[in-house]
Symmetry: C2
Subunit: 229 residues, 2 copies
Amino acid sequence: MPRVAAVPVRTKKKTRDADVSRARVFEAAAEEFAARGFDGAKVDRIAERAGVNKAMLYYHYTDKAALYRAVVGDMFASTAAEMAALRETGGSPEVKLAAFIDVIAREGQLRPHFPAMWLRELADGGQHLGERNFGDIFGIVSTLAAILKEGEAAGRFHASTPFMVQMGIVGPLFMFLATAPMRKRLMTKMPIAPPDVPPATLVAYVKSMTIGALTAGRTSSSASKAGKR
Amino acid sequence: MPRVAAVPVRTKKKTRDADVSRARVFEAAAEEFAARGFDGAKVDRIAERAGVNKAMLYYHYTDKAALYRAVVGDMFASTAAEMAALRETGGSPEVKLAAFIDVIAREGQLRPHFPAMWLRELADGGQHLGERNFGDIFGIVSTLAAILKEGEAAGRFHASTPFMVQMGIVGPLFMFLATAPMRKRLMTKMPIAPPDVPPATLVAYVKSMTIGALTAGRTSSSASKAGKR
DNA sequence: GTCTATATTTTGATAGAC
DNA sequence: GTCTATCAAAATATAGAC
């Protein structure tokens, strides 16, 4: 037992270093995966970006796929957690829906790699996702489904397909966010693709679109209330 | 000159065969690229899918990148051409906007690989696109920009950013279309992701969203007219 | 036009010293 | 925990016969 007691200090030091390099790898991987996709991302490049040796990468993560899952898992787990919190709050269906959109938008901005990675994962058919990821996604869509159902029951929303509404929210939001680098580069050739739309404007537009579609033809003023400018 | 005269018949035969195998390669490539992306797509697998020898693939196309450009170019050129035609037609801004959305949706369904490939290309930042592709894309967005401007001048649409509106149309449409295989596979685990929403319903929803956002707060009945059901 | 065999390069991954 | 050196497996592309 005395042998065990001697370790703490040194362990703490080592652990902190490990956490640092591990975090650097994670961050670099997120950028690489977002910019090039799973197959396009190269392990060597991730290590280089992270400023660590390639062997270090394998010290922290079993392989490329595990690293990818770590990044993706973090995205969905975080979003799912926020959604769980959202489910506890009150308010009208319109307010809840706006809050739902805010969470998606916030997560998409908080993690710059999120939008592009999500776009790719959708195109990939969820190839790289695991059971836990699907669970988180299910939780997210379920949150939206509950809001829609509530609004529908209250006679404020049309009947709708949750997954379709979800794509109607994530699509515009993430497509716009994911194309930020591209738009920046294209500005000279395409004055139509501005790199600098304020996030608030984008979010407002998405809210307006969604509420607009769900309340089209109704006399309520909810459409104009939720997403102005 | 007599040597030249003897060729035609044989050439025709050969040409037909060539066209067939070339088309098969093109088709197989479109599927592979859509399902796995540029880096994920493997030349061997494309050849196998096409039922031709790998060497044949290189006989028809200089390399993998050229093949990719051929598929992508076809998508954008076709869509751009339809947009050019649309620019000639008349009607109210609302009608034109609906027609614009119809073109995007039609192209997305006509070429099953279009949605997924477009999602990927956006995430890639247009890495694999050439000058001509950007020209076509510019033409497409410009068509939308003109419609929006007209509606705005007529006092029927809010001021808007064309590229953002474009993402608001392509996003929901293509995300939903691109996830068809995924949804089919997930049905058992996620009853929220139905594989079978009728395209007409999806298109109507996107029209309703877009018109709804552009006319939010207005007294006009255009929102309910353009995208019902 | 079509196929076999092969050259070349890239890349994911590990062994083993420090 | 960190790095060097290296292996083994893919994967792109081509040469050359038919």
